[in-house]
Amino acid sequence: MTDFYTKQTLEHFRNPHNYGEIKNADGKGDAGNIVCGDVMSLYIRVIKNRQGKEVIKDVKFKTYGCAAAIATSSVITDLVKGKTIDEALKISKTDIVDTLKGLPPIKIHCSILAIDALSEAIYQFLKEKKRAIPEELENKHQRIAKSKEQIEERYRKWIGKK
């Protein structure tokens, strides 16, 4: 029954890992929109490891949304913790869905939301450190900003229609 949540999803939903905020985080990424019913904020703390590589030492989330939104938030924090920036950028929605052993088709967008929030957090981190932004990440950032605009525009139209 793919219409319902897996045991793994429900477990993450009921006991999510790493929720909360990081004060003075090195990066914060927001994704989703209240109109659609899901809003996710991801906070990262980045430090240099012994090899001099930057790794995501700590990560926390705050999410308003359905069980899938909370579960995917929880999973992405697990997947990200301890990874280098490059490794973190390689995490895909498939990794999240696989960890949860599947999501109902209508909820796949929640895993995309989690990836978007992570990308945005890393984007903000790199931007503030005045680092070069990989082209792919820049494109993604533009896409997220644009879709946010479109949703708000659609919402205004919808409200205006009544």
């Binding site: 219409d3 949540y5 429900l10 939903f13 009921r14 999510p16 929720y19 209240i34 109109v35 659609c36 019913g37 899901d38 809003v39 904020s41 989330f61 705050k62 999410t63 308003y64 949304g65 359905c66 069980a67 939104a69 909370i70 938030s73 209508i106 919402y155 009544k162």
Partner: protein, 386 residues
Amino acid sequence: MKKIIYLDYASTTPVDPRVLKTMLPYFTEKFGNTMSLHSFGREASQALTEARKTLASIINADPEEIIFTGSATESNNLAVKGLAAFYGKEKNEIIISPTEHDCILESARSLSSQGFKIHYLPVDRNGLIDLKKLEQLINSKTLLVSVIHGNNEVGTLQDLSAIGKICREKQVFFHTDAAQSFVREKIDVKKMQIDLLTGSSQKIYGPKGAALLYVRKGVVLKPVLHGGGHENGLRSSTSNLPAIVGFAKAAQIMQKNRVEENKRIARLRDLLVKEVLEKIPRTKLNGHPTQRLANNANISFAGVEGESLLLELDFNGIAVSTGSACSSRTLEPSHVLMALGLQPEQAHGSIRFSLGRWTTKSEIKKTVKVLEKVVKKIRSFSPFGN
């Protein structure tokens, strides 16, 4: 096993044991086809007549004005599409409220592709339609006004008499979807000047698979189903007699104790609302404060998304609904709550509690306790948690 607290009676009700008992012989000994001429058929036909009489008397209709269907959705489809098919050449405008059940909204929309114009009545923040606007919208092309009586999501009860009066004066048909209110609320189709009315069995402790459409004498519909000419030619299909007999019995039981039962349930509902609003910050009752179905409480919990609250309650052995049960597989905020002017975050964070015949005070107390706990928990993950 722990007993589950069921607060979703507006989705569907269990069959009352007394109803079930009445139904059982119609599966085995009295299984005849109402159209057969032999003794089995006559027996079945007589039971069908009795059920029709019982249900007609509840809304002060004549038995011939009651058409049995398989569901409230079917009744609503038949009312809207049946009228449109017969009168559509002369009149092609339909007025509905934006807070209709999906089956009215979608039936109306399906007609808009056939050249019908659909007008939506404005509703106020309590969910009541604007009667002045209704008068203004009606013109010589208006065929039908269809307004839900007791709203399935927020429970608001429309003033049927006022709508009926306007429609009769302006000579347009008036249909009301009374799936949630049939028998529960006193309805007199003659006094209220109603032309068509939908009633359902599975909302009043009757079985699924039976519903009715009241069609006032003189109103002509084109059938949706063609065949053997059952139900005055309006709904061909072998009569689902066990369900219809159960429907009539369920209506009889509710009718007899309506006032006391509503009083008892409303008291529990009011207790639920009062305690939730007092004990849980940032909560709000949706729908009309007083003019509402006795068993409905629709509450917004700010900073909490409805589905996650529903699931947490389910884990704690409490069954509720977000919006209407039918829409729980879509992602859009409820069209009813948005029509009432709620912000998306309020609409996404709303839960419908619907009480019933077997709801107890201790269940309500327990529900409030669990709500306090789980709302706090979900808010702790939420960026809008405080």
